[in-house]
């Protein structure tokens, strides 16, 4: 089952050849300094080495098994639920798995999950990149280091704290902006308010909380790449007569783009899967709706699992939640896959450089 061992093992028989005092230097593949495939790849020779290699390879394989098991078990329990579902699991909007005739589907949940994450990204990406630029290219160096630290620490605040703060502090404060958006931009479908003045425990507020939560992720990763912009490129731009902003646009942003993208995608993955903050902030419902400003119409997959678990029936109710979790799993896999693909593609272009 295991693929062939990592390197062409030297032809020496493991164990037998371990004559004492034999130089451990690789017989083949001598002096290539920068990379030592032969140096790293040698596992055979002594019993201890074989045991250690076995252990470490076993750990890696265990990790693969865990991933496979996650997919497998979610699929297995999820299919159980989908089999007894009286509605279409993918297109049904309601969520009623606990009765005698379970009818449930992820349509509304997926829409809610995606919408709240889009709101979060629309807010967090520009602001996060701005903060990163401020720290990397505008703030004085000492201050910048301190700020970088603070942002890193804020990334560590647990989501349940953001949830608590979101519902008790932020939600009341969001009233004004809901009214404002609803009355001035109500003609845009997403800002249409069907119940003006309703307490704003909405997808929009959830999106704002998510934005605050993922902002440090975007900032940290963008700042890291912005700081790595080669000084030579910045100076080249300045020497051509670029202003600071033009220098950033010609040298820093193109160089940092892959980092910004992968940071944003990581943040998106986090926003899609965030559970507690959304569960605490939002007032949930199960309609397929684009109305960000209406409470009680929508929720996200993860929040629904947390809120619905307490009263979920066994086994169908719980299995239904697991099935929705599988959908979330697939969505986050796709997002992460896209991120990696983008970064890899950019790397190729830049790689042809050196």
């Amino acid at each position: 089952m295991t693929p062939p061992p990592p390197t062409r093992r030297p032809a020496t028989t493991p164990g037998g050849q371990a004559s004492p005092g034999s130089v451990p230097g690789p017989p083949s593949g001598g002096p290539e300094a920068p990379d030592h495939p032969s140096l790293r790849g040698r596992g055979g020779g002594r019993a201890g080495d074989r045991v250690f290699l076995g252990l470490s390879r076993g750990a890696g394989i265990l990790l693969l098994i865990v991933i496979a098991a996650i997919a497998g078990f979610l699929l297995y329990r999820g299919i159980n639920a989908i089999k007894v579902d009286q509605g279409n699991f993918l297109t049904t909007a309601g969520w009623d798995p606990n009765g005698l005739k379970p009818v449930f589907g992820v349509a509304a949940l997926v829409v809610g999950t995606v919408l709240s994450s889009i709101v979060a990204m629309v807010i967090a990406v520009p602001v996060g990149v701005g903060v990163a630029l401020f720290i990397s290219h505008y703030a004085p160096r000492r201050l910048a280091q301190l700020l970088g630290w603070v942002v890193d620490l804020l990334a560590a605040v647990p989501s349940v704290v953001y949830g608590l703060w979101g519902t008790l502090f932020l939600v009341p404060k969001m009233m004004g902006i809901h009214t404002w958006l609803g009355s001035y931009l109500g003609w845009v479908p997403v800002f249409n308010q069907s119940q003006p003045g309703a307490y704003p425990r909405t997808l929009f507020t959830a999106g704002v909380v998510l934005a605050i939560m993922v902002l440090p992720i975007i900032t940290a990763m963008s700042r890291e790449v912005f700081l790595q912009t080669p000084r030579a490129h910045e100076e080249a731009a300045l020497a051509l007569g670029a202003t600071r902003w033009e220098m950033i646009r010609t040298a820093v942003l193109p160089f940092g783009r892959p980092g910004v993208i992968s940071g944003s995608m990581l943040a998106l993955g986090r926003a899609l899967g965030e559970t507690m903050a959304v569960a605490m902030v939002i007032s949930q419902g199960f309609n397929v709706t684009l109305h960000l400003l209406d409470p009680g119409t929508s929720t996200t997959i993860a929040a629904n699992i947390a809120n619905g678990f307490g009263e979920a029936s066994r086994p169908v109710g719980v299995d239904a939640l697991i099935a929705s979790g599988l959908v979330l799993f697939v969505i986050t896999l796709i997002v992460n896959g896209i991120a990696r693909w983008i970064v890899a593609r950019r790397k190729e272009f830049a790689g042809s450089a050196a």
Partner: protein
């Protein structure tokens, strides 16, 4: 997009490359401060005149006046390029302030709400027999739960993650290593609730075990593993090959080289990574909610019966929705922040003190 379009009118059309004089008309150094004062005045003026209650709105008006006003004045005096440069500066500065406000607000509000309740009594009592309406009770049982669950998760995940990282760096070539690297990435992206659902369907539903701290720890371990693999991998790659060669050249077998030379060299970096991972999972609520279930009483045995945990305590107390329970939720949240932040700061200080010299 192009500065070409923005500025071409400023220059004679004949020359392909416009001539620029060295001396440009420029706004004085104090101009931004003047704009700031004017904008603040205009903002509060409009705000007061229109009777806007929220001072946030005053600030937003002032910010808009500042950005637009400075851009317009600068464009007419200094030209579009300078104006754009100033605009970028004010937008970057504004985004920074905008980001700082909520992040500071979270900390400040939690401290102001939670500090009063966070005392010795709170730390040393459980919620056994305390109703939502009582002004007593504490977090002791949840602390025990968090400690045990995170501890077990660490014990499970760290050895596996360390060995995996060693495999990837020291032995790993070929398909298996590539697959592991890829799936570690995949695992990093798994939402915590999905990890919780997996253990739920595997450990509880399929194997038939009951809610327990251990079940929660299994999920936390899944969340920790990829993080630790990643950070350990990075640290091991920083260990110079010369060290490995030197040891191997002395006839030390490979596995002893790794144990005695490579790992100790990278130890502080690895520890930092582990501590950051612990800090992250200590705040996880979702999997605990599904697997540990919650318990008002002290349960010291992580292997049998429901437990509580600090984040779960916060969630439950919030859910009860009474004055005193909400106070307990805030105090719990503050305690959680303190613990997580301390771990973070400690990890970073350690990393800085013992940073390998060739880290860049």
């Amino acid at each position: 997009m192009s500065a070409a379009e923005l500025t071409q009118d400023d220059f004679p059309r004949e020359a392909a490359v416009p001539v620029r004089r060295l001396t440009q008309r420029r706004l004085p150094r104090w101009a931004p401060w003047l704009f700031l004062v004017v904008a603040a005045a205009v903002g509060s003026g409009i705000g007061a005149a229109a009777g806007l209650k929220s001072h946030l709105q005053w600030g937003l008006i002032a910010a808009a006046v500042f950005v637009v006003g400075q851009w317009a004045v600068s464009a007419s005096v200094e030209g579009r390029r300078r104006a754009t440069d100033r605009l970028a500066l004010s937008l970057v500065g504004a985004s920074f302030l905008l980001a700082l406000v909520p992040l500071v607000a979270v900390l400040a509000y939690t401290i102001s709400k939670g500090a009063g309740k966070l005392n010795g009594y709170f730390l040393t009592h459980s919620m056994n027999g305390v109703s939502a309406l009582d002004n007593t009770g504490g977090v002791y049982h949840a602390l025990i739960g968090t400690l045990e669950q995170v501890g077990i998760a660490t014990l499970i995940s760290v050895p596996v993650a360390l060995l995996t990282a060693v495999y990837l760096v020291e032995y790993g070539r070929g398909k298996l290593a590539k697959a592991i690297t890829f799936f570690v990435d995949v695992m990093t992206g798994i939402p915590s609730i999905v990890a919780g659902l997996f253990i739920l369907s595997f450990w509880l539903l399929t194997l038939g075990f009951n809610y327990s701290g251990f079940a929660g720890a299994l999920a936390l371990a899944i969340l920790m593993m990829p993080v630790v693999v990643r950070s350990t991998e990075d640290m091991l790659r920083l260990v110079p090959d010369e060290l490995r060669e030197a040891s191997l050249a002395l006839g030390v077998p490979r596995w002893r080289t790794i144990l005695k030379v490579v790992l100790p060299t990278a130890l502080s970096g690895i520890t930092t990574g582990v501590m950051l991972a612990i800090a992250r999972v200590a705040g996880e609520t979702a999997p605990v909610l599904l697997l540990v279930f919650g318990n008002d009483r002290i349960n010291n045995d992580p292997f049998s019966g429901p437990q509580s945990s600090l984040p779960l305590f916060v969630f439950e107390e919030y859910g009860k929705g009474n004055t005193f329970s909400t106070e307990r939720a805030w105090a719990g949240a503050l305690l959680l922040i303190i613990i997580v932040m301390l771990m973070n700061v400690a990890a970073r200080v350690l990393a800085r003190l013992k940073a390998p010299k060739n880290s860049r």
